[in-house]
Every structure is written in C-alpha cells, then in structure tokens.
C-alpha cells in the first residue's frame, strides 16, 4: 500500500471518527451541564436514568424524537426547516482544521505517517471565523422564518450581537497570528512548544480575555444569551421550534461549545501539548480532551453564575470596550513582534 492511499484511508477514518466522538462527547456534556447546573445551585441534578443519572441525554433525545414536529402555519416553511442545519453543519466543520496531536512526520501508525489533524489548512483561522459568521445566518433565519414577534426579536438581537463581537474576536486573534507568524492551527500549536510559560495566554493575556468574552457571545451563553433570553423573549429564535428540530439547535449549541473550547485551548493554551515537557508521555489527544473539558466546565460555571446584559449595554461593551482594547492589543503585539523578531 503506497503512502497516498494510506493517507486517504486515514483521512476517511479520521473524518468519520471525529464527528462520532464529538457527538458522544456532546451527549455527555449535555448531561454534565444539567448535573453541574444542579450542583452549582445546591441541587443534585438528574438522578433517575442510568447510574448517577448519566443516561439523561439519551432520555432527552428519545423524548424529543417522540414529540410532535410543529411548524407554525404562517411561517416560511422551507427556511424554517433549513435553519437548524445552517447552525449544525458549520459547527462540525471547524473541527477539521484543529490539530489534536503532532503533525508532520513524527508520528507513525502501521509504518505510515499519521497526521493528528483532518486537514492541515493554511488559513484555518480564517475558516473558523468564516464558519462562525455562517452560523449567525441560522439564528437569524430561524428567528425570521418563525413568524413570531419573540423569534424575530431574538434573531435580530443575535445578528447584531454576533456582528459586533466577531470584530473584537477577529482582532484579538490577529495577535496570536502575528506571534505564530501563521494562520494555520498546526503552526500556532507548534509555536507554543515547550512548557506552559511558552503558551500564548501569557503574552496575549488581554487578547485572550477579549477572545474568551467574545466566545461567550458567540456561544449565546450568559451574560450574552440575549438571543434566547428566556425571561424576556420566551426562548428567542427557538420559540416556535419543537421536537427534534429544537433538539438540533441545542445539539449544535453544545457542539459549538466543544469546538470553541478546543479553539481557545489551541490558540492560547498550547492545544494538544502537555503543560510540562516531562508529561509528554501522555498522548496529545488526551491533553486536548482534558483542556476542552476544563474550558467546557469554565463556560458552565460562568453561565450558572452571572446575570444577563441588556441589549444596548451588550452593544456598547462590544463596540466601546472590546473593539478598542483588541485593536490596542493588536498594535502593541505588532510593535513587540516586529522589534523583537
């Protein structure tokens, strides 16, 4: 078997295995979100289905599948059906460019070169930003097509929110890009080789914080869950969705959670690299998994602690605080990199 054929087979296996693993992970993350929400609130969370209640997500899926699929009478039916997938698919695609282990000839599997990434794409960062922008369409279209006032308000809020936060996010990422001198995730991780003080969150602490806040907005979690805003807009753009269509939205939200956690750890926390070089005997995918879990937990903790901003406050934070700060961070990084490098 020649090397290209082996690479093709590996690629197919990776492309199948990665979504499956994410789906399994998401099923348990949904369970953990409910369990941990209970813990944060002094409750016990789900306990009935399975040991420690851990099959709760599967029970939820069965419930959602057995529910009636309602489509509002005066909605735009084609768009209404399409909207969940516009959110769902881009969420998965980002995982293709994220490395989960060493890339470029070091690793071997059955004597062939094995890259721990599905696609070593040179402009991975741009792809990530672009796919994030596409997902907004899903939210906006879902809100618009439902023919409901609450949905429309939710969709509009989501649109405005994502646009203003994507700018800050983009500018804060450019700092990392300058330091790694590349837009490829593989190079970014390689740029953070060594012990944990080589990771980018130390020089890029401001950019990292901005990126974290912006991802909260990107994920529609508190304090920026205005698009859903249960207390104000019932369920925002999801108001008219029911059954498995609603389930797909929820699923996409949690896939996004995993992906964004992966991106944060890749950009600022060394990706698959161990915090100390002596711990390198533990393989890269496990380190990435641990980091993703840590960030998922952090996102949950934030979600169950803090309040929601008002719409105009959110916009003013995005435009008046985060955007200038991220530009400043970019300028300082550019000067330092050009002087030092």
């Amino acid at each position: 078997m020649s090397d290209p054929i082996a690479q093709l087979i590996f690629l197919i296996i990776k492309a199948i295995l990665m979504p499956v693993l994410i789906v399994m992970m998401v099923a348990f993350i949904i369970f953990f979100e409910r369990k941990f929400a209970g813990f944060f609130q002094g409750r016990v969370g789900p306990t009935y289905l399975g040991p420690w209640g851990s099959f709760q997500s599967f029970g939820d899926i069965f419930k959602l599948l057995s529910k009636e699929d309602l489509i509002p009478a005066k909605s735009d039916k084609a768009v209404f059906r399409l909207a969940p997938y516009i959110i769902f698919i881009p969420a998965f695609l980002v995982m293709a460019v994220m490395p989960f282990g060493p890339v470029g000839g070091q690793a071997n599997l059955f004597g062939y070169r094995f890259d721990y990434v599905i696609a070593n794409f040179d402009a991975g960062l741009v792809l990530f930003l672009a796919l994030g922008a596409i997902a907004v369409y899903g939210v906006v279209l879902a809100g618009w097509s439902s023919n409901s006032n609450f949905s429309l308000l939710g969709g509009l809020r989501a649109g405005a929110q994502m646009i203003s936060y994507e700018l800050a996010m983009g500018f804060s990422v450019v700092g990392v890009m300058l330091m790694a001198n590349s837009m490829s995730f593989v190079d970014i991780v390689n740029g953070q080789a060594g012990d944990f003080w080589h990771w980018y969150f130390i020089p890029q602490v401001v950019g990292g914080l901005i990126f974290f806040v912006a991802t909260l907005a990107e994920l529609n979690r508190t304090p920026f869950d205005l698009a859903e805003a249960e207390q104000e807009l019932v369920a925002g753009y999801l108001t008219e969705y029911s059954g498995m269509r609603w389930g797909i939205f929820m699923f996409a939200e949690y896939v996004n959670l995993v992906v964004i956690s992966g991106i944060v750890s890749t950009l600022y926390f060394g990706g698959w690299r161990a915090p100390l070089e002596v711990l390198d005997f533990i393989p890269g995918p496990i380190w990435l998994f641990i980091k993703i879990c840590a960030f998922v937990f952090l996102y949950m903790w934030v979600r169950w602690t803090i309040f929601r901003y008002r719409y105009n406050q959110l916009m003013s934070i995005g435009w008046k605080v985060l955007l200038p700060l991220s530009i400043l961070n970019l300028a300082v990084t550019a000067i330092v990199v050009s002087v030092a490098g």
Partner: protein, 177 residues
C-alpha cells in the same frame, strides 16, 4: 472612580466573587430531598387529609352527627346524614367528604366538639381516579392510622363525661338535612 476600582474591575473581582459562591455550592452537601425515595416528616400541626377517629370502647366512630364541621366548612365539602342508634345515640349514617373541594383550612377539626374529625399527616393525595378523592365514612375511619399521635393524647386526656352534651342532638336535629 479611583485606581483601586479600575484594577478591581479589570480583574473581574465582582464576578469572581459570585463565581466563588456558586463554586462553593458545587462542593457542599446538597439539600435536595429526593421525594419519592425520601420524605419529610410533617409537623404535628400539619393539615393533611381528614380522618374520623373511632372510640376504642365501641369501635365505632366518635362522630355524633352534630353538623358543626359541615356548617363551618368554607367550601362546603362535608355532607352528613344523621340517624339515631337503637340506644338513642346520634350517629352519622353517612359521612362524605369531597377532597377535591377541600381547602385544608382545618376548621372542621377545630370546631368538632367530640374530637372525632381530625386532620392527618396524609399529604400524598394524587390519584388517577377522581372517585378516590370522595372519602366516605369507611375511608375516613381507615385513614385514622395517619392521624397525628399528639391528637390521640388530646382525646384521651379529655373528660369522657363532657364529650356528649345534650345540646349536640338538638342542633343536629334542626340543622341536619
């Protein structure tokens, strides 16, 4: 705004403090009572579904069909038909209590002159059949196993001579159905 405030704000002190609270709750013991598996003990004054107490001497209910409970009931959920036993005592022929109407105010227990009807600690009243909520005399008497222990003590301490005054019969006659 002083420098200290700016530093505090930039370091997210307020939000970290909130997160420390939720973080504490994450690890401390949970207060949830997992209801069907574990149940709370009610207090002696708790007002659950009613029961009719029986007289240990005769084995029959203590109720004398005086109609006080049926009259005071704000939701009019008690209906009694009185009769005379061969030995001349007043006695309820039927005693029906509609739990779907009952508001558990406890007035029936409070006005009963012979401590026959009592509120119990029985609060698990959910049922699939509405007819289960219509308590007749047998069901009410059977329910006395749930009565608060304290109320048994009360009835035993009461002087038995004063339990059945003559006026009870007269009122029952004039106000009975």
């Amino acid at each position: 705004m002083g420098l200290k405030d700016v530093v505090k704000k930039a370091a997210f002190v307020d939000i970290l403090r909130g997160m420390s609270v939720t973080g504490t709750y994450f690890v401390v013991d949970k207060v949830t009572v997992e209801y069907p598996k574990e149940k709370l003990q009610t207090y002696p004054r708790f007002r659950g579904a009613q029961a009719l107490l029986t007289d240990p001497a005769t084995g029959d209910t203590k109720c004398v069909a005086c109609m006080l409970c049926a009259t005071i009931c704000p939701s009019q959920c008690i209906s009694i038909v009185g009769e005379q036993t061969p030995d001349g005592r007043s006695h309820p022929a039927t005693f029906d209590l509609d739990l779907t109407r009952c508001i558990f105010c406890g007035f029936c227990e409070e006005v009963c002159p012979v401590a026959a009807i009592v509120m119990t600690r029985q609060y698990e009243l959910a049922t699939y059949d509405k007819n289960d909520c219509l308590l007749d005399k047998e069901k009410l008497i059977a329910n006395q196993v749930n009565a608060h222990k304290e109320l048994y003590a009360l009835t035993e301490g009461a002087a038995p001579a004063a339990v059945r005054p003559a006026s009870a019969d007269g009122n029952a006659g004039s106000h009975g159905r």
